[in-house]
Symmetry: C2
Subunit: 665 residues, 2 copies
């Protein structure tokens, strides 16, 4: 019995986008067919491709899995130009069909998010140790740019808590804002520039998939850790403490709170906590009854006005309450001359830019995808990255710090009926009015209301229900979550993230290093072979030992698999000896789930074959996937198996091998 | 149609070592059966296990995949003690049955490997910048210890080229032997101690699988790079250069050779290259005719004697030829007081120990496994690691540096008929005699013969055929190989290794990040569904879209898979529109090769289901593996699929779903 390798024209296949390739199929010689009760089906090699074709296919799967230019196919030149325009500036997709109805919705939602964005902008800027006005600047230019370049209809753009917190921590480790405010500002703008550059490059190089390595589990832990730290830090404002640590680990923050008991101000505490209670209550109302979202959306601005009034009216009695103070009127000044591309702090700026850029990108993309999926449209992750990146690069030249799509404001935007990116424009115009005319009003706004707004915003990031679900469903995901939580809390943000990504990657490696193997049995009356452990009805096939391997066979597991398969065999032989079963004659490995193989795996298969042959056991493979088949062929392993060593299904292998034994008798 | 979750006693399964567990099987309600042409088989959950049981199973698969204590089961106490004794000291396995015939073979092979070990020991010590006598010390104590603890019958223990080279490079970067020989020696012994500690701990903690991460491909590149560098370095001896660079990168070495042209000695060049030619010729003879192995085995010692005689006789004319010089007679002195556990160079010693320990371990284990597999016995990798580790720890206290099983000497040992570890003892005794009586004979041994021996030994490490095979079979393996080659050549040994391991791990991640997906069709007249691209005879099933996913669904690929599946669907719908096919009604995902799923994967499945339902497409999963099934169940995803959303095979799914459409009509 030999092996016929036959090269045939491949003219079936999926029918569309058919390359002119040939397949090599291994045909079972017809003379053996006569003795068979059933027809045999040869195992095919995948269509032959050159190395270059394979590389091109691989690269297009890596960088263009979504085939972003598929709209260009079979189009006229005009349509192609239009498509390109729509592709680069999504505003042209919706602007031509824009009408008054849409505009009315967008005005309402734009004003609503503006009422949130103004107090949050001021608060988040404080979180990043920046002057409050930077938060307003950052709510003006970036939303306008996003409205032109962004493809999400619901994303409300501006400063967000996580990126602000991380920027504040990382820059403050290098330079103190109080000691050297100009250098600090320079570094903040430079970091913003690099964040934008990094984001745009990721999108442009179509490396957007890298943010997927920050898994949901990692982010749950990270955000909870950050939220706990930020909330604790706000005790400064809520308790009225003047001298507070600038560190970001939980231990120095808590000890600072306790050590400074003498600075606690009862006025601040009473006002702060009652505003906080108020905000938390309205937040709960908004969560429970989505129709009443406007209560929670309007609460921050209302309380800012209220607290400002109280402080302004009773300023003689409340002199020990810290306020924002005088703010400069006017639009974003240029910050081009503040960008800083040399000197000893450049590394800090680049690192801060990379981390905040990555984090804000993750948030922005996740929020964009969430609302796109809710409203059933698609956003192209890589394109969104370019939009967010360009918006930050432009922001860094106009006195803005890192911005992205905010989850809370986008949710309010969607609830308030926002239909297009026009709501971002309306919001920016409102901020413009504020910047031009209303800045003096913030003079008496107390810091404690900003602290209360921050606490209310970040408390929603503690998603203990998700953490509990992770524990229930996937213990290793929970470990990744916990390690990023503890890493952020006790060490630092980059370390926490790195540990969590490490745990996630380790999990993948562990799955490959120690894959699952299982013994299969036949479900009587069918051609189905299933795990004996799982299926009661499955039965061992006498004289056969059928094993399934559930992982690619790689250098990292080939030695393990060899030992494990031999152990399975030893246990099987022990069992046969104990139960007077029929002697083992044939070992079948079901390769369906062996999705890849490298040269170590090939060496292992050859070694295993040699060892089994020494024990006079026939060794059969069933249903190898295309890429594995190709490697078996190229390394001549296939030829050593021969035509009676390779079958398309376990059923056919069992039928054919056992009937060949009968023929021999 | 609902979902019956039924808890049943599991009393089948693999029959042996059956835990008392229960399975949850999902039964198809019987009223739907009547309308079916074929019987349906429910998809089972794996046997229920507690978290603790799962953890125990996982840990035992990670650390005890080979079940090393299986010999202990069902044994009497005496047998258990005997087993333990055999387990810890493999010498007790063979010593009781040792006889004169075996002894005769072992004496022949022991003397043969001694004749190789003595010149190689001296040469390799020079490679590590150590005094030549250390190489002999290292060929005395470690083989004796290995003979007691080691389980390989053919491993010939002693210094090896790679570990010597790496130790020389890494220590020389920190301390110069010529400037501070005592500190250098201290560091060498300390590094040896840590290498042994590291090796023994890896074995003891059963972390031996970590060395599998140095894949064959990586090692091929690494060894070739090291061999090129070492050969180039030997030009110092072969050309008779006195002042030579101590750096280990290819560029400084080559420029040193060229810059020092004035130091080239024509006496040295003529002698050196004729000895080298002689050694290479005998090596070729040994390789071509394995029976004549003794020619290549005896050549080094013969040439050492010959060259020593030449230099001794013509010393007045050959005064510019460097020789080994006076060597101290006597056994290994204790080096306990040389171990160095504090101070600024401790980190260097620990790092050198870790790298040389890892490399020598990899070589020793690979050699042991190779000969075990040739002679059909098994070596326990973790036990071997403990043996090699203890041998190095003992060596570090008796003036030895890092030793392991040498590939070349083990091959000679096997060829010369070595039967047990006794050949190591015979070799050690020969070295003992040399140390005690023959040391003055080496006084006039020229350095150039040592250089020629080293070149001959390392040139065999350049395995260009393997590299070519890697290129042919697996391009990414070749990249790993090439990067370790170039890394070692141009940067440094640890960097080269780290890059290669990085490439290998990246390959695993890439496979997971961008898994293969394919559209399946039915092979007419069977229940077989196969890739339409690969199988000409496979045909699309009208109204169905059947996709197979060939990877675990993880955070790293869930977003990609979602986009890729939607793109497949879009292309399918385009194709249907162009070919007037029947409308798509049902999407089936074959989960056979989805070997694991995490919480991101679960979220993706739910999202995909929601999106398909919006398009009025039925979504069906077939044959999820046990662990995936469990996660689908725990996260309540399974329940949302219902009983008509989950089938054991694609065939049953197609039959049942299409017959349910007929019932509805």
């Amino acid at each position: 019995m030999g092996l016929n390798i036959d090269r045939v024209e491949d003219n079936s296949g999926p029918g569309h986008a058919q390359p002119e390739t040939t397949t090599i199929s291994i045909l079972v010689p017809s003379e053996t067919m006569g003795t068979q009760p059933q027809e045999l089906h040869g195992v095919c090699l995948p269509p032959q491709k050159t190395t270059f074709q394979k590389l091109r296919h691989k690269l297009s799967e890596i960088f263009f899995p979504d085939d972003p230019l598929h709209g260009l196919k079979n189009q006229t030149r005009l349509n192609k130009i239009l498509f390109a325009l729509h592709f680069v500036f999504p505003i042209f997709q919706w602007a031509p069909n824009y009408n008054l109805t849409l505009f009315r919705s967008d005005v309402v939602s734009g004003l609503t998010i503006a009422s949130l964005a103004i107090p949050q902008g001021i608060s988040y800027a404080k979180l990043a140790n920046l002057p409050p006005v930077i938060g307003l600047y950052s709510s003006f230019v970036p939303p306008l740019i996003y409205a032109v370049l962004g493809s999400s209809k619901h994303l409300a753009v501006g400063p967000v808590s996580i990126a602000s917190l991380v920027m504040g921590t990382m820059l403050n480790d290098a330079v103190s804002y109080t000691l050297n405010p100009v250098l600090y500002l320079k570094l903040a703008f430079t970091a913003t520039f690099f964040a934008g550059l990094f984001q745009a490059s990721l999108g442009f190089l179509r490396l957007g998939f890298l943010i997927d390595f920050l898994s949901k589990a990692t982010l749950v832990g990270f955000m909870a850790g950050a939220a706990v730290i930020v909330s604790m830090q706000q005790l400064k404002g809520l308790l009225g403490i003047v001298n507070f640590t600038s560190k970001m680990q939980i231990i120095p923050v808590l000890s600072s709170v306790i050590e400074r008991r003498d600075e606690w101000s009862w006025h601040a505490i009473m006002m702060g906590f009652s505003f906080l209670a108020c905000l938390l209550t309205t937040r709960q109302i908004g969560l429970r009854k989505p129709k009443l979202f406007w209560i929670s959306a309007a609460a921050p601005l209302t309380l800012v006005i209220l607290s400002t009034l109280i402080v302004a009216l009773f300023k003689s009695k409340l002199h020990n309450i810290a306020t924002i103070g005088q703010l400069k009127k006017g639009l974003n000044p240029s910050s081009l001359d503040m960008l800083y591309f040399h000197g000893e702090f450049l590394a800090v700026a680049v690192k801060t830019g990379a981390v905040t850029g990555l984090l804000s990108l993750t948030e922005g993309i996740a929020v964009g995808r969430t609302f796109a999926s809710l409203k059933n449209y698609q956003v192209d992750g890589n394109k969104e990255m370019i939009a967010i990146g360009l918006m930050n690069m432009a922001g860094s030249c106009s006195s803005c710090y890192v911005t992205t799509g905010s989850f809370s404001r986008s949710a309010v935007n969607e609830n308030a009926g926002g239909q297009t990116a026009m709501s971002n424009i309306i919001m920016a115009l409102t901020v413009l009015v504020t910047l031009l005319f209303l800045m003096p009003l913030f003079r008496y706004t107390p810091d404690l209301i900003l602290a209360a707004i921050i606490v209310t915003a970040v408390i929603g990031l503690i998603d203990y229900q998700s953490a509990f679900r992770l524990w229930k469903v996937d213990k290793l995901d929970f470990v990744a979550c916990l390690s990023s939580f503890l890493g952020v809390l006790f060490v630092s943000v980059p370390v926490g993230l790195a540990v969590a990504v490490g745990v996630s990657v380790f999990k993948i490696l562990l799955h490959v290093t120690r894959p699952n193997t299982g013994v299969l049995g036949n479900i009587p009356g069918t051609q189905i072979y299933q795990d004996l452990d799982r299926y009661r009805e499955a039965q061992r096939v006498p004289s056969f030992f059928i094993l399934s391997v559930e992982a690619p066979i790689y250098f990292a597991n080939s030695m393990y698999l060899q030992e494990r398969i031999l152990r399975w065999l030893r246990e099987e032989e022990d069992w046969i000896a104990a139960n007077n079963g029929s002697t083992l004659k044939c070992v079948i490995i079901d390769m369906t789930a062996v999705t890849a193989m490298d040269t170590s795996g090939l060496a292992m298969m050859n070694e295993l074959k040699r060892m089994l042959e020494k024990r006079s056991l026939q060794f059969v493979l069933t249903n190898p996937v295309g890429s594995v088949m190709e490697k078996l062929h190229k390394s001549n392993t296939l030829e050593s198996f021969g035509s009676d060593g390779l079958y398309i299904t376990v059923g056919e292998a069992v039928a054919h091998v056992s009937s060949s034994w009968k023929t021999q008798l």
